[in-house]
């Protein structure tokens, strides 16, 4: 346990030194400024979207940046010749991304609560936020581990971002409505968005459980079945 904590601390230090933590925090601070300046009606609508940006698509980019630094420096291969299991190393990296998600959550939601008077269910929102990070980092790892370089990852990322945000747009445009809206939950970003809406008291039980199960299944299946094996191969290649 002490070793895990030490590894986690080292990973956070690494993210700080490589300014990955800084850029994540900077984006959250920009959202916080927007929230502080907006009126309460706008904030109620804005907060879930802004937290979603940070914990969803943003976490994929930050993870990819962290990954390519390591690949470039060859440190991934050096991890293979240490007593620490690759699964533990991955777990620490994911925990660090979840930590960044929590920091972002605290900055954005904290600002909203300090500057505006509105009701929000903090704990369910935080839980949804962590699920969103877990699901999106899993997808981020799949994209990153199957991309030759950062540029090819960005191309894939753009495609995935378009796909994941499509349900939000289609619902907003009225193309998806009623039961068809459930199809939108196939997008983890949209599923997370629905969970975030729950924090403001606007979700039915079916949508809630479908979203929770789906977001939990993504990391639960992708990490052991796809990511771990692929991570080992990429690390071996150096």
């Amino acid at each position: 346990m002490i070793k895990l904590f030490h590894l986690f601390k080292s990973e956070i230090i690494r993210l700080i030194k490589y300014k990955i933590f800084f850029f994540g925090l900077l984006v959250s601070i920009i959202w916080a400024v927007i929230i502080a300046l907006a009126d309460v009606q706008s904030v109620v609508g804005l907060v879930p979207y802004l937290v979603l940006m940070d914990t969803g698509m943003m976490s994929i980019i930050l993870l990819a940046a962290s990954f390519y630094y390591e690949k470039q420096e060859g440190t991934m291969q050096s991890m293979l010749v240490t007593p620490v299991r690759l699964s533990t190393i991955l777990l620490i990296k994911v925990a660090a991304m979840v930590f960044m998600g929590i920091v972002s959550f605290v900055v954005v939601v904290g600002t909203a609560l300090v500057f505006h008077d509105f009701d929000i269910r903090i704990l369910p929102f935080l839980g949804a936020c962590m699920l969103a990070v877990l699901a999106h980092t899993a997808i981020g790892y799949v994209l990153t581990l199957h991309s030759k370089d950062f540029l090819s990852l960005l191309v894939k990322y753009m495609g995935v971002a378009l796909l994941f945000f499509a349900p939000t747009l289609l619902v907003a445009l009225g193309v998806f409505s009623g039961d068809w809206e459930l199809l939108g939950l196939l997008s983890p970003t949209y599923a997370a968005q629905k969970l975030f809406a729950m924090a403001l008291g606007e979700i039915d039980q079916a949508t809630l459980w479908i979203s929770v199960t789906y977001l939990a299944l993504i990391p639960a299946l992708l990490y052991p079945l796809v990511i771990l094996k692929r991570y080992e191969i990429v690390a071996m290649e150096g």
Binding site: R14, Y69, V81
Partner: protein
């Protein structure tokens, strides 16, 4: 002395490879020795080291580590093993100290690396970002990193490649000191100077097969010419002569020559390891 590694009929092919890159090699690494695996680029040295360090699996043949099947060892294997990669491996935006702290945290057993930082001339720069280090500093830090867990077996891939003579000497002295402490060192290199100064046993590889296994001394005896070469001055000119070593003390011509001429140099005809490398592998060491 026990056998640290016993390798029998090792074969390996990369998953997407068309043919085996290791073709049935066998050798043993004795405890407390420096074992050199030599050969030109692409000979299979690094692949062999990657198999012995368990980075690569799915090999054919038998590898025993302290008498037990290597594949049976868990990640705890690395508590006793240190690996220095050819390319220095560090987090460039962390300081030397932060790098060492990070990697030290991965092991149960740690040495006090500050003494090594001092010895390798890096103590003053310990808080400097590694990305700002020169190549020599990075290589020295790489070496310290491999020693962090006080390993019983140390793997070094081209440990002095690209270093100036002063830095190379520091690394080589440290390797010999490690050996004197009873540890085992496995070196892959194509630098014959290192081999001559460090290795107890040398194995030459080429195209995935072992072409020669011996000691530096025996190799020199085997491939060297048993002759004595003399340079001397005669009539204002520098002249060279060779004499067979056998019966040299009774060779009247030789005895007369050393008694009457002004000698410039006397050398035995032993060959250099560079020459042996070319003979054994059929390639130049820099190919």
């Amino acid at each position: 002395m026990g056998k640290v590694f016993e390798v029998r009929d090792l074969r390996f092919r990369y998953p997407k490879g068309a043919k085996d890159v290791i073709n049935g090699i066998s050798f043993a690494v004795e405890e407390g020795t420096v074992f050199g695996l030599l050969g030109p680029s692409g000979a299979g040295k690094s692949t062999t080291q990657r198999i012995l360090t368990k980075i690569l699996s799915n090999y054919q043949g038998e590898i025993k580590y302290w008498g037990k099947d290597l594949s049976a060892f868990s990640k705890a294997f690395y508590e006793d093993v240190g690996v220095g990669f050819e390319m220095p491996v560090h987090f460039n935006k962390l300081s030397a100290q932060e790098n060492l702290d990070y990697f030290a945290s991965l092991y149960k057993r740690n040495i006090d690396y500050r003494e090594l930082l001092t010895r390798f001339g890096l103590f003053e720069a310990r808080k400097q970002m590694v990305g700002e280090f020169s190549k020599g500093m990075k290589v020295r830090l790489n070496f310290i990193r491999a020693l962090l867990n006080d390993p019983q077996v140390l793997f070094l891939d081209e440990p002095t490649a690209g270093l100036d003579p002063k830095n190379a000497k520091i690394i080589k002295e440290a390797i010999l000191e490690y050996k004197r402490a009873g540890k085992t060192i496995f070196i892959t290199t194509h630098l014959m100077g290192d081999v001559e100064q460090l290795c107890d046993t040398v194995v030459f590889m080429n195209n995935g097969v072992i072409t020669e296994t011996s000691t530096v001394r025996d190799l020199k005896l085997k491939y060297g010419k048993k002759e004595l070469n003399i340079e001397y001055h005669e009539a204002g000119k520098l002249t060279a002569r060779s004499f067979p070593l056998g019966g040299i003390g009774k060779n009247r011509e030789f005895l007369d020559l050393i008694a009457t001429k002004e000698l410039e140099t006397i050398h035995s005809g032993e060959t250099t390891l560079e020459d042996i490398f070319i003979k054994v592998t059929g390639e130049s060491e820099h190919d």
